[in-house]
C-alpha cells in the first residue's frame, strides 16, 4: 500500500472554494440578517475549516484512527462550549435577575414574580 497523493487539481479547487467562502462571508456580514448574521458567519467559517481539514490536512485520506482523533477534538470542544454556555446563558442571580445586570435593566426578566 502506498500513501495517497492528493493532486494539485484538488488543491486548486479547494483554494477557489476558500476564496469564494471569504467573499461570501464578508458580503453577508455587510447586510442585515438580524440574528442570522452570526449564524451565517459561523456556518461559512465551519465549511471553510472542514474543507481545510479534509483536503489540505488529508483527513479524508487518513487512517480511521487518525479520523477518530480528529472527531474527538471536535467532540471535546463541543462539550467545553456547550456545558459552559448552558451555565452562563441561563444564570439568574439572588434577586432573580438574569446575568449580567450591567446591560439595560429594563430588559432583565424577573423570574421570581
Amino acid at each position: 500500500m502506498t500513501e495517497h497523493v492528493v493532486s494539485p487539481k484538488i488543491y486548486v479547487i479547494i483554494l477557489c472554494a476558500l476564496l469564494l467562502g471569504t467573499y461570501l462571508t464578508v458580503t453577508a456580514a455587510l447586510r442585515d440578517f438580524g440574528p442570522w448574521n452570526i449564524v451565517i458567519a459561523l456556518a461559512i467559517a465551519t465549511t471553510k475549516a472542514v474543507l481545510v481539514v479534509l483536503f489540505f490536512m488529508h483527513a479524508k485520506y487518513s487512517p480511521k484512527r487518525t479520523q477518530l482523533v480528529i472527531a474527538c477534538a471536535v467532540f471535546w470542544l463541543a462539550l467545553l462550549l456547550f456545558m459552559t454556555m448552558s451555565d452562563y446563558f441561563t444564570r439568574v442571580d439572588y434577586r432573580g435577575i438574569r446575568y449580567p445586570v450591567s446591560q439595560n435593566f429594563s430588559l432583565s426578566l424577573s423570574l421570581h414574580s
Binding site: 497523493v5 456580514a29 490536512m57 487518525t66 482523533v69 471535546w76 470542544l77 467545553l80 439595560n104
Partner: protein
C-alpha cells in the same frame, strides 16, 4: 544523527512509521484546539454578556486589512499543500520554491497584522489607562473619512444608552470598560495566533534549509507533512478569529 527515513525497529513498514508520526501531530493539534477553545469560549460568554460594547469594538477593526489577511493566509495554506505534494512526488526544485512562497505569505500576514496593531495603538484602543473609544472621533487625523467618523460617533452614542443607568459620563466609562474586554480578547487571541505564525515561520525556515540539501523524497517527507498540518491548523484558527472578531455586527454601521 539525521533521520532520513530509515525504518525503525518498532515499525513494520515505512507507511506505518509515517502514520504514527502524523497521528502524534494530530494529538498535539487536539490539545491546541482545546487551548484556543478556552479563549473562544471566554470570548463567546463575554460577547453574549456585553453584546453592544463588543459590537462597537468589532466595528472599529479594519475590515479591509482583516479580509486581506484572510486571503493571504488561505493562499499560504494552498502553497503549503503544494509543498507537501512536491515532496510526495519528488519534485526537488519545486519543494523549496513552494516553502519559500509559504514563508513570504506568512510574513506578509504578520506585516499586515503589525499595521493593524499600530492603528489600534494610534487610536487609543489598547486596554489600559489611556483606553478611550472616543479618542479617534475627538482627535481626527486629516486622512480620516468624515462619514466614517460620523457613523462611529453615532454608534458610540447609541451604545452608551444601552449601558446601566447613570450620567452619560458614567455610561461612557461603563462602555469603555466593556469595550476594553473586547480589545483584551482581540489582542490576546490574535497575539497568540501571531505567535503560532512566528513558530510556523521558524519551522518553515528549517524546512527550506533542509529541502535545499535534498533531504525530503517521495519515500521520506514526514517533516513536510507535519509542518503542513501545523500551518493549516493555524489557518483554521484565523478563519474563526476573522468571523468572530471582524464580521459580527458589521451591518449596523
Amino acid at each position: 544523527m539525521h533521520r532520513t527515513g530509515e525504518l525503525y525497529g518498532q515499525f513494520e513498514t515505512l507507511e506505518q512509521q509515517k502514520d504514527t508520526a502524523t497521528l502524534g501531530m494530530w494529538i498535539f493539534l487536539v490539545t491546541e484546539v482545546l487551548f484556543f477553545g478556552g479563549l473562544f469560549l471566554t470570548y463567546t460568554v463575554n460577547r453574549h454578556n456585553y453584546f453592544t460594547a463588543f459590537g462597537v469594538g468589532g466595528n472599529m477593526l479594519d475590515l479591509t486589512l482583516g479580509t486581506t489577511n484572510t486571503v493571504v493566509l488561505i493562499a499560504s495554506s494552498f502553497t503549503m499543500a503544494m509543498s507537501v505534494w512536491s515532496a510526495q512526488t519528488d519534485r526537488k526544485k519545486l519543494l523549496p520554491l513552494f516553502l519559500i512562497l509559504t514563508l513570504i505569505l506568512g510574513c506578509g500576514f504578520l506585516g499586515i497584522k503589525y499595521v493593524e496593531y499600530k492603528q489600534k495603538f494610534d487610536h487609543h484602543l489598547v486596554p489600559g489607562h489611556s483606553f478611550d473609544l472616543t479618542y479617534r472621533i475627538n482627535h481626527p487625523s486629516p486622512n480620516d473619512n468624515p462619514k466614517e467618523l460620523e457613523d462611529e460617533r453615532k454608534e458610540i452614542e447609541d451604545a452608551i444608552r444601552t449601558e446601566a443607568s447613570g450620567t452619560p459620563a458614567e455610561q461612557l466609562t461603563a462602555l469603555n470598560a466593556h469595550a476594553q474586554l473586547y480589545f483584551s480578547l482581540y489582542f490576546g487571541m490574535t497575539g497568540l495566533h501571531a505567535l503560532h505564525m512566528i513558530v510556523g515561520a521558524g519551522l518553515l525556515i528549517w524546512a527550506i534549509k533542509e529541502s535545499f540539501k535534498g533531504r525530503f523524497t517521495a519515500a521520506y517527507n514526514t517533516p513536510i507533512e507535519i509542518v503542513g498540518l501545523y500551518w493549516h491548523f493555524v489557518d483554521i484558527v484565523w478563519i474563526y478569529l476573522f468571523a468572530l472578531l471582524y464580521l459580527i455586527n458589521r451591518h449596523s454601521v
